[in-house]
C-alpha cells in the first residue's frame, strides 16, 4: 500500500464540499474551508466556477460516458488477466444455451433460407472474407514401382501397371478391378487436405477416403487374406468373401477383421482422442495387434484411447458417415472436432483467439460440404458462440462478445 497521500485526501474532502455546495447542504464551517481553498489560487477558483455552474457539464458528460463505455469493453480483458479461468466459465453458460439454440436452428435443411437474412449482418462482422472453395476429388496415387500419379475427378484415364493389369480412374473413382496381375509391392492412395476419393478394390470392396487420409494395399491381395492399412478417415464397404477375411490395419496398431460389412475408420494422427471404428452393418472384430479382439455389432463404435484402450459406444451413423454423403454432420461435436473437419476439408488453418475454449462448445447440425467455407462458418456462427475472421487460408475463431 502506498503511503497515505495527504494531498489526495484533501482533494477528496474538497470534492465532497463542492458536492454539498451543489446539493445545498453545505454548512457554514464547511463553507469556510471551501472558501480558503478557492482563495489559494486562481485555478482553484476557476475550477469551482466550472463545476458548480455546470458550464462544461456537456464535455464532462461525454468524457465520462466514453470512459464508462471503454471500461466495459476492457472489462473482460482485465478479468481474464487477473483470473484467466473465470472469464471463460461465465461464457460457458451462455454457450450451452447458444448451442441448444444452434441445434434447433441448424438441424433442418431449410436453414439455408436464413442465410439471406443474416448475410448482411454477418458480412458486417467479417469484413474480409475470401472465398475458400470446398475440397473436391483429389488424390495422389503411388504405384508399386514408385511412380506417383496425380488424380482428379475430371479425367477418365487408364493406368497400366502390369502386363495384364490396369487401374482406371474415372469421375473420382479409382477402379482396381481391371484384371488380375502378378505385381508385387504396395500401392498407396493419398488424399490431401481438401481432397476426397473413392476406390473399388480388386475384390469389389468399395473404399471412400476423406480428406488427408491414406489407403495402402498390396498390388495384389494374398490368397488367404485381404489386408490393407489406413490412416485418416476411411469408409469401407467390404465385399463378402468367406474364404479370405478382410483385415484393416489402423496406424500400424489396430486390426479390424471382417468378412463382409460396412464400417468407418477415423484415425487422424492430429486427433488421437477421436480414433474410432464405427460399424454400419455386419460384424467386425477390432483389437490391438496380438491381443484379444472385441466383437462389434452394427450401430456401435469402438473408441481407441490414447493409451490403446478400447471402449464400445453407441454411434450416430448419420453423423459418422456424413462426410461420405457430402455432408458435415455434427452430433454433439466439440468445436475442436468440428473445426478440424473443416480445416481438413477446406485446407485451412484454424486459430483460436484467447477466450475461446474449443472443447467447451458443442455443435449439432448438418451442412453441405460443397458450400464455400464462409457459408459454413457463418451458419455455425449463427449459434452466437463465436465470431470468425478469414484471412488468406487462416480462419480465426473469435469470442462472440
Amino acid at each position: 500500500m502506498d503511503r497515505k497521500d495527504q494531498d489526495m485526501e484533501n482533494a477528496f474532502s474538497i470534492a465532497g464540499l463542492i458536492i454539498h455546495y451543489i446539493d445545498g447542504t453545505i454548512s457554514e464551517a464547511e463553507m469556510v474551508v471551501l472558501e480558503d481553498w478557492k482563495k489559494k489560487n486562481e485555478a482553484n477558483q476557476a475550477l469551482f466556477e466550472e463545476l458548480t455552474s455546470m458550464r462544461d457539464i456537456d464535455q464532462v458528460y461525454v468524457k465520462m460516458q466514453a470512459a464508462r463505455k471503454h471500461g466495459k469493453q476492457r472489462r473482460l480483458d482485465i478479468i481474464s488477466r487477473i483470473r484467466p479461468e473465470e472469464g471463460r466459465y461465465r461464457k460457458w453458460g451462455k454457450m450451452v444455451i447458444a448451442a441448444c439454440i444452434a441445434a434447433f436452428l441448424v438441424l433442418p435443411a431449410s436453414i439455408w433460407i436464413y442465410f439471406n437474412h443474416w448475410e448482411h449482418a454477418m458480412l458486417a462482422l467479417n469484413k474480409d472474407i475470401d472465398i475458400i472453395r470446398p475440397g473436391g476429388k483429389k488424390a495422389l496415387l503411388q504405384l508399386a514401382n514408385g511412380n506417383v500419379i496425380t488424380l482428379s475427378g475430371h479425367e477418365d484415364t487408364v493406368i497400366r501397371t502390369g502386363i495384364s493389369r490396369t487401374i482406371r480412374n474415372r469421375e473420382g473413382i479409382l477402379d482396381f478391378t481391371g484384371g488380375a496381375g502378378d505385381d508385387r509391392g504396395t500401392i498407396t492412395l493419398n488424399t490431401p487436405k481438401g481432397g476426397e476419393y473413392e476406390a473399388v478394390l480388386e475384390d469389389g470392396t468399395q473404399v471412400w477416403l476423406n480428406a488427408a487420409s491414406s489407403l495402402e494395399l498390396p498390388a495384389r491381395f494374398a490368397s488367404e487374406e485381404r489386408r490393407v492399412a489406413v490412416a485418416g478417415e476411411v469408409y469401407f464397404s467390404v465385399a463378402h468373401d468367406a474364404r479370405r477375411p478382410f483385415i484393416v490395419t489402423v496406424n500400424n496398431d489396430i486390426d479390424i477383421q471382417v468378412l463382409g460389412t460396412q464400417f468407418n475408420v477415423k484415425a487422424y494422427s492430429d486427433e488421437l482422442d477421436e480414433q474410432r471404428v464405427t460399424l454400419v452393418s455386419g460384424r467386425v472384430l477390432v483389437g490391438r495387434k496380438g491381443q484379444r479382439h472385441l466383437l462389434l455389432v452394427a450401430g456401435r463404435s469402438v473408441k481407441v484411447g490414447r493409451d490403446g484402450s478400447l471402449q464400445v459406444e453407441n454411434a450416430d451413423i448419420t453423423a459418422v458417415t456424413g462426410w461420405k454423403n457430402g455432408l458435415f454432420v455434427f452430433d454433439h461435436a466439440r468445436m475442436g472436432v468440428a473445426m478440424r473437419q473443416i480445416a481438413r476439408w477446406y485446407d485451412v488453418k484454424i486459430n483460436y483467439a484467447s477466450g475461446i475454449i474449443p472443447d467447451k462448445t458443442i455443435f449439432m447440425g448438418k451442412m453441405e460440404r460443397q458450400a464455400d467455407i464462409s457459408s459454413v462458418m457463418r451458419l455455425m456462427a449463427l449459434t452466437g458462440t463465436f465470431k470468425f475472421r478469414i484471412q488468406g487460408r487462416e480462419v480465426t475463431i473469435l469470442p462472440p462478445g
Binding site: 500500500m1 502506498d2 497515505k4 497521500d5 494531498d7 489526495m8 485526501e9 484533501n10 482533494a11 477528496f12 474538497i14 470534492a15 465532497g16 463542492i18 458536492i19 451543489i22 446539493d23 445545498g24 447542504t25 489559494k40 489560487n41 485555478a43 482553484n44 475550477l47 466550472e50 463545476l51 455546470m54 457539464i57 456537456d58 464532462v60 458528460y61 468524457k63 465520462m64 460516458q65 470512459a67 464508462r68 471503454h70 471500461g71 466495459k72 476492457r74 472489462r75 480483458d77 482485465i78 478479468i79 488477466r81 487477473i82 483470473r83 473465470e86
Partner: protein, 211 residues
C-alpha cells in the same frame, strides 16, 4: 462517498468478497472507479489511450493487493494515488524520450506549461482529482434522471438552449420546461445527497408534470 450500492450489498460485503478473491467484487470496484480514474489520468497526461492503459494496470495491482483494504475510502485513495504516480512516471518517461525524439517535444512542452514546479504540480493534480470526483458524481446523477427530465436537462445545460427553444423543440410549454428544469435540479441535488425517498416522491411529481 456513500455506502450505498445499487445491488443492495453493503460496503462490508464487497470488501469481504474482494478479500476472498471474488472477481464479482473486483468487477464492482472496477465499474465504480474506472471512468473517474480515466478522467483523472487524462487530466494529468492529456493522452486518452495511455490514460486507459495506466488505469488498467492500476486495477491489476489493486487485485493483487485486494487483501489490504478495509474500507472503500481506502480503496479510492489507493487507486487515485497509484494512478497519479503512474501518470507522473509516464510524463517523466516522455520527458526523457522527448530529449531524443523531436516529434514528442512539443507534447512535453505543453505539459510543462501546466506543471511549472513541484508545488504547482501538486495543486494541479489535486484539482484533477477534485474534478474527477465531482464529475463522476454529477454524471451518475444525470444518468439517474427520469427520461423527460434528462432530455430537458441536456438541452438546457449541454446545448445551452433557452427555455423557449427547449419548449419548441420538445413541443412543451415554456412553463413546463421551466418546471422540469427546476425538478431536474432538485432531483440532481437529491441524488447527490443520496436521499432516495425524496427522490422517489419527486419521481411521482415528475410523472404528473410530463402528462
Amino acid at each position: 462517498m456513500g455506502n450505498r450500492t445499487r445491488s443492495g450489498e453493503t460496503e462490508a460485503d464487497h470488501i469481504t468478497s474482494l478479500r476472498n478473491g471474488s472477481t464479482m467484487a473486483f468487477g464492482y470496484y472496477y465499474d465504480l472507479f474506472y471512468p473517474r480514474l480515466v478522467f483523472f489520468a487524462e487530466g494529468i497526461i492529456a493522452d486518452p489511450l495511455s490514460a486507459e492503459d495506466i488505469v488498467e494496470d492500476v486495477f491489476i495491482r489493486f487485485w493483487y493487493k485486494r487483501t489490504d483494504f478495509e474500507t472503500e475510502k481506502y480503496i479510492r485513495s489507493f487507486l487515485y494515488v497509484s494512478v497519479k504516480n503512474a501518470c507522473l512516471d509516464h510524463l517523466r518517461h516522455l520527458g526523457a524520450v522527448s530529449r531524443s525524439e523531436a516529434k514528442l517535444a512539443y507534447w512535453w512542452e505543453a505539459q510543462k506549461a501546466h506543471i511549472v514546479d513541484m508545488e504547482e504540480e501538486r495543486e494541479k493534480i489535486m484539482r484533477e482529482a477534485i474534478r474527477a470526483e465531482v464529475s463522476q458524481q454529477l454524471f451518475d446523477a444525470i444518468e439517474m434522471l427520469p427520461d423527460r427530465c434528462k432530455q430537458i436537462f441536456k438541452l438546457s445545460y449541454f446545448h445551452k438552449m433557452h427555455n423557449r427553444s427547449v419548449a419548441e423543440q420538445l413541443r412543451l410549454s415554456v412553463f413546463t420546461v421551466r418546471n422540469q428544469k427546476a425538478i431536474a435540479m432538485k432531483i440532481l441535488r437529491s441524488i447527490l445527497l443520496h436521499q432516495y425517498i425524496y427522490f422517489l416522491l419527486l419521481l411521482v411529481q415528475t410523472a404528473k408534470f410530463s402528462l
